[in-house]
Point group: D2
Chain length 149, copies 4
């Protein structure tokens, strides 16, 4: 990203937005998430299930599965350099995630129009089995992601 | 909870279930949650928003708000000594939660019939302002909470 | 409602809004709905399950149960003389509704702030058994209900 | 479908299930719906917005949009000859549907495992513009669709 202006194409813009968001997202960093890929309206994040995320049966608390999906949602819907927030999210838990598993959340855009967006996020485990399906509704607010650039 | 058997009344049963669940719920403990109150079909949990839950603007990641509500949901729907899991959850984010705020999640039972249940959880901040509304769908599975008793 | 202006109190305003909306709501009228009660942020509507709403097993199509709840939602969220539309609705079907049953949908306000609102609608049958739980998210748009007054 | 048994392949089975369900679905028939296509886990239905579905502004009541999507959902999730019911549905209304428009609902399978399924239904108007996004959760119950064959 050059000092002289915005990235010249949608893919570069999405990547610049992701870098800027990531730099200030201590929560996602602190949970050990990794951004594997971003593109306009799309993001793939991964996270290992650690001791602090599980219960006595070594099953991951649903809240951390949601949090991974919610972060993927945030990176996908903020890929256009328009600040966008989560408004409503629904998650269906389909299988347990166990200690040590590396979960992957893939967010894709279903709809974007006006200030509203809908994104679907599928969370899978290391074998590709589906752990959860998440649908997020976003709303664009004032402000840019790359304001200072 | 006496060694001789199950607690004699619904309120004592709810409290015994909460103690048993809490003992193995490292995830909720690790996030600094406190169980303020449980009753049959009901639970109130609180949690302070800490540095590791926020982004660069000191706003709590929605995933941690969800996680608090999801824990309150779990304690409410498991208050009958029947193992019960979250199946589908929807959350609406209504206001930001800031660093240092103590959030409170109050779960109440809307419906319980057969193996299905619906619980509504309202998350408020220290001033009583509503931060999020959460609706959880539960499903009873095999097994008891107080199996060893 | 007097020609000289808006109704003087919230209850009268809610009733005036309901009359104005009902007059142009051919869809709800055509399905045989009845408004039993309105109040600020609240509405109770009823509807009999007729032959054209059922399948070969005499079970009501879920779409008509949704439609009754959605109408109750609309009357509740439009009770302040601010035009308001449904944005997102979720429904859980809990028991079948049979031919001839009179269903009742009771909408109550869970949250209202800024331009957003959340309303919960419970649909019961003639015995009071719960048929469905519906949660609707509304958004206020430009315009009044009682524009001509 | 031959008298001697079940259709020999998944596509023929899906079509046979659709015919059997349609024959007893007076509700969908009565609203003027047409089944355009079915396949395993998939269905496309269309419906014109008629006078009895609109309000005074000629805008379709959201309940009828939901009903079309819900029917497409039902045909998609019942395409395996296992009786399956809608358990939980969420719909987001994205644009108004006007009198005379022919709406099309396309249901696709997102997940199917055990007795649970998730289906996404997109409702578009004649121009292809998206009117609503619907996500349905199904649950298989006892019984076959083609029981008598």
């Amino acid at each position: 990203m050059e000092a002289s202006g915005k990235p010249p194409d949608p893919q570069a813009l999405a990547e610049a937005c992701a870098r800027a968001m990531w730099a200030e997202d201590q929560a996602s960093q602190g949970l050990g998430m990794t951004i594997e890929r971003v593109a306009p309206g799309e993001a793939v994040l991964s996270m290992a299930v650690t001791e602090r995320m599980v219960n006595g049966h070594k099953i991951c608390h649903g809240g951390f599965i949601f949090t991974l999906a919610d972060s993927a949602f945030a990176f996908a819907c903020n890929s256009y350099d328009q600040r966008t927030v989560a408004q409503h999210c629904a998650v269906t838990f389909l299988a347990p995630a166990r200690l040590g598993e590396v979960l992957r959340a893939h967010a894709v855009e279903v709809f974007r129009g006006g200030r509203s967006g809908i994104y679907d996020i599928t969370v899978t485990d290391g074998t590709g089995a589906v752990i959860a399906e998440f649908r997020g509704h976003s709303r664009a607010i004032k402000g840019l992601i790359l304001e200072g650039t």
